[in-house]
Every structure is written in C-alpha cells, then in structure tokens.
Symmetry: C2
Subunit: 341 residues, 2 copies
C-alpha cells in the first residue's frame, strides 16, 4: 500500500551503499571516491586525502558524561584516524558545528580548546568551517585533509592471500569504557546525590572519551620500510572492519582469538560485566586503532614493531571471514558494528 521504506531496513552501511552505488566520477583528478577511509585526489606530485565525519549528540555522544573539551579533541582524532588509515599525513581540517542555545559560549570555548589541542598535537591547521544554530543538540561535522606520496597510499582493497593481518594497540577498551559510563549514569539517574564511581577506570575511560589516532604507528611502519598492502581504521569493531577489508580485497581472513590484543584492565572489566573480552574487541567500536595487512616477506620487520601484533592471515575468498578459537573451532565473523537507525 505504502511507498515508504524505513531507514532501519537498510541500516547505516546499507543506506550508504544504496545512496552511493550509482555514483560516477568524471574529474580526472578523482582517483578514489566513496568507499575507503578517505577520498583520493591527484595533486600532481602527490595525492590529497579527504575524509569527513559527523558526530551527533544523543547518537554518538552523551553530554551527561562527556567532557566537552574531550569531545572536541575526539571529533578531530576520529577524522585524523581516517587519514592515517590511508598511510597519509593530515594537514588541515574544517570544523562545522550546529549548536542549540542550551550551550553557553563558555561551552563552545571548551569545545574549541579541545579541537585546538588535537590540532596542535597532530600539527594540523584549522582552516575553515561553519557555525550555526540547531533546534536541539550539538552536531559536529569535521572534514580532514591530508597528503600522501603516490607510491605510499594504502587502500582497503590491496590485501592478498597469505598476507599477515596486523592490529595496532589493543581493542575493546572504548566499548568497556562506554559501558562503565552508562552504568554510572543509570546509578546517578536513580540517586543524583551519589557521586559516579569512576576510580581505577582511567585507561578504558580515556579510550572512549579521548582516543588518539595512530600517527605513531604510521611513522614506525615508514621507518621500518613496511608498506601495508591494505589498511582501515577500527572505528566500528574489529569484526566489522575485517568484513570491509575482505569485501574490498575480495578475500577471506582467519583471525586467532587468543592473538587479539586486549589490555589487562579491559579484560578485567569485561569479566565484571560478564562479557567475553574477545567479543568486546570484535564487536565493540571506537578503538581507532589500525587494522592492516603486510606481505609474509615483511614478517621479521613487523615482528619488531612493538605497537603492533599479528592476529591472523588473509585466506581465499571462499573460506570466508572467521575467528579461530584455541581448540580449533572456527566461528564466522558477522557484521555487528554501528547500527544507528
């Protein structure tokens, strides 16, 4: 009867695919459009990288427990992470905000102080933006610009069978940090006089509230002469990113559950919540670590990089994407990621 199809029927990734599937590009300078961590534009002697993200209050962040200065810092971090995931260096950002009159100027000062701190930390210029009012909450839209030598650009699509699958840092911490903040919020809602109990949770709270993009990892890989064959940043959980990588590289993957890097405090808090740490790492989002593949011939070099662990290898497409458990059992990886509709 009705011509109405709900957005929830497609989900976020489905909607993006649906809206962009027929896109054609005609500019000679457009090397890569929609479909990777950043667009790639030919600038003669180098490639320019462009990435953009929108953060919406109530969807991506909750002002009741998010320090607004950290929010500004994080909004920049998550965009720079996309530039690093192309093996590039961020150089400029634009920042657009829509803000309701609920926020005083002092809050905007704090937000921009966090934005500026991240810009300074990663040597990026804030070169433009837009500021407008919103009827309800706060919306932050950032576009990051970067550059990369043409021979260094790394796509999601370059992984080949037998390549080693690597992850930087550790995973699942941001997800557990978020669970703790949500738990304390519930306690506070029931009894506003109780102070939130956040002691001892520094690491996981920093993971969710003030993540750092892995500029250091990109620098070390370069120093060691390692060029990843494919790369993506881990914003929606390891499982979801592995599926993106396999789809675009037309391959399968085997990840060893016991190799997934998880911080000791993350693991301890997972247990308190009755959650399997590797499930948090596979399905929890917002870690902003890097997932990448390298040739087997780079095994010795990559083994020396302390910021990175090898978690598995690329397999043929027919084998699919699976996690291998210590007893040898294989479980297919399913998309969990962000479902915002």
């Amino acid at each position: 009867m009705s011509d109405r199809t709900e957005l929830s029927q497609l989900g976020e990734f489905g909607l993006i695919e649906h809206l962009t599937k027929d896109l054609k590009t005609t500019q000679a300078s457009t090397i890569k459009g929609v479909g990777d961590d950043a667009a790639v534009i030919d600038r003669g002697d180098h490639y320019e990288l462009i990435s953009t993200d929108m953060l919406v209050e109530g969807v991506h962040f909750d002002m009741s427990y998010t320090p607004i200065k950290h929010l500004g810092y994080k909004a920049v971090s998550v965009n720079l992470s996309d530039i690093y995931a192309m093996n590039g260096t961020p150089t400029q950002i634009t920042v657009s905000i829509a803000v309701s009159s609920r926020f005083p100027i002092e809050a905007m000062d704090e937000l921009y102080s966090g934005i500026s701190e991240a810009c300074e930390r990663y040597d990026v210029d804030l070169v433009g933006g837009d500021t407008t009012s919103s009827l309800t909450g706060l919306i932050i839209s950032i576009t990051a610009i970067g550059s990369v030598a043409k021979e260094d650009v790394t796509y999601r699509s370059g992984a080949q069978e037998h390549d080693l699958v690597c992850v930087s840092g550790d995973l699942g911490g941001a997800y557990i940090g978020l669970q703790i903040l949500e738990r304390e919020k519930e306690v506070w809602k029931e009894n506003p006089n109780v102070q939130p109990d956040l002691e001892g949770f520094d690491y996981v709270l920093e993971r969710i509230l003030k993540p750092e993009p892995r500029a250091d990892v990109i620098a070390v890989l370069k120093e060691q002469g390692i060029k990843p064959t494919s790369m993506i940043d881990i914003s929606d959980g390891l499982g979801s990113e592995l599926l993106h990588l396999c789809k675009q590289s037309d391959c399968g993957v085997r990840i060893y559950e016991e190799k997934i890097p998880i911080d000791a405090s993350t693991a301890a808090q997972c247990q308190e919540f009755g959650l399997e740490p590797s499930v948090c790492a596979l399905n929890g989002g917002e870690d902003y670590e890097l997932l990448f593949t390298v040739r087997q011939s780079d095994f010795e070099k990559i083994s020396k990089v302390k910021e990175v662990v090898i978690v598995g290898h690329i397999s043929d497409k027919a084998s699919g994407a699976a996690t291998v458990y210590p007893q040898g059992e294989e479980i297919q990886i399913k998309a969990q990621g962000w479902k915002s509709f």
Copy 2:
C-alpha cells in the same frame, strides 16, 4: 554570579570570530585559513579551495514547503557558490547527512537525486561523506573542493579605493520567495484543505528553493580578461556582504540605491508585502549572486557583461559603508544578515 554567556549575545558572526580569533596556522601549504569564502591550500602548480556549509532543518529550511530534491540541489549550490566566489572552479564535494527515522529511504533517494543533479550540472564529483541518524530532523553538511590558478585567486580583502562595485543577476528574490512560502504555510495551518496559492511566483520561488551558483559569471569574467580585485558571494544580503568586504579590504563603499538590480516580479511582490525592494535586496539573504570589485580601468569591459551591473564604488575607510538614495541622502549600511541564535 553565573559564568554563563548566551550565544545570542554574540550572534553567528560574533561567535565565529570569537572562536577563531586566536587560530594560528603552521602548515606551509596553508595560504588562507578561516575568514574568506574558502580556505586556500598551496598544491604546487595551483591553489586548492575548500569551503564547508551546514544546513539544519528548522533553521535553514522548512520541510513543510521544501521539496527534498530541491534541498539536495540547493545544498550543493550554496557550497559551489563559495568556490566560484574565490574565482575558482569546484571539482569535488563530500556530503554528510544526519537523518531521523521520520524520513523514509525514498526521501533520501530524492535528496541524493537533487545532489547528483547539481553535481552533474556543475561537473563536480561526489567523493565521500558520512551518513548517520539524528534524533530530530535532517542535517546536511557539505564540503566543496575546488581549484584556481595562483594568479587568479580572489579574496575579500583586495578592494581598493575607486574600484567599481559590481553585482551579478538580481537581488531580493529569494527573500520574497521565502515570505510567500511562509504566508501560504500560515494559510494552510489555519485551513489544511486550502491548496497553497503559488501561481505566478515561479521566479522568486525558484530563487529560494533552487538557486544556481554563478559559474557563468566567473567564466564570462575570464573570457573578458577581467580579474576582480575582491569578491564574495551574497548569501546573507548585499548589506552584510558589503560590510565583510569593507572590513577585510579596509575601505568604505558607496552603493547607489537605484542601481541595485531587482527583478520586476520581485519588485511587484515586495510591494504586495509593503516592503521596499531595495531593503529586501540589502537585507534579504540567500540570493547566491556574486558581489565583486574591479579596477576603474576595466569599466568598458565590465559594462559589456550583461550578467553584471555596477552598483557603486569603493571609498576611503573613514567614509564608511553607505547606500546613496536618489535625492543624495546617504544611509549607513548596518549588519542585518542571518541571526540564527
């Protein structure tokens, strides 16, 4: 007692100035940051231009009378207009949207169909973006990328005393179109069975709902060998843009009221609303025409350009910015523009 300063105390321009006044840039490639229609990045043999705009439902558009396809087209138009205002050519855009579940997929298809139509019309590639949910309405954030030969870039700051002040097309139409839509909305709210009476208002409705950026004017100026000394696009009303131009060029201006270009249908409808046409042109926004200055020595050349009229001249700073009326009376131009807080 309180440390709270309301956003409304600063207004939109005040807030942007407040937040960006201490910004420093450190990247050698950053030629121009915040403060013009677009940022300017050095790409070796040319300059790259970057501009960004955010459109918020209930603030910038009203879904009750805005066809969503036109909205997509307009969102692209207003961004491209900023690139043309630097005397450049747009090449790519990114589009981020936040959308509530109120909108079905069919509405998103319409929105993207308008976006695609504008991209095709102006030969621009859609190369990236972000799609997420929002708790209330629709928010569209677009970043436009363009390029310009280094010797052709035109800033707001280049106007000099005695330069001729020029305007493309005609002004005030978008403002009157908006008044008509608002009037019919009120009628409809009182009696939902009455069909809106929009006949005969095609021109002004198109001006507000589906504006075109002036790619043609930039092309003609180039053909005629005219390089504007300064330029800005007219998004917030001629008066407001003249003040931006004077501030950044450190000059004054004299505009002749009878020279301000106003379409006959705009003028007729202004009278119906009891509004002075030139007041609509000076204070009404969203025309997306170009305001620019040229040297006196270009007088003959510019006089031949049918898309453009000369409306006045640049004066010394001490004389301020004023409109000169036919009897010789001068009235100082005051910032009216967009007050969204």
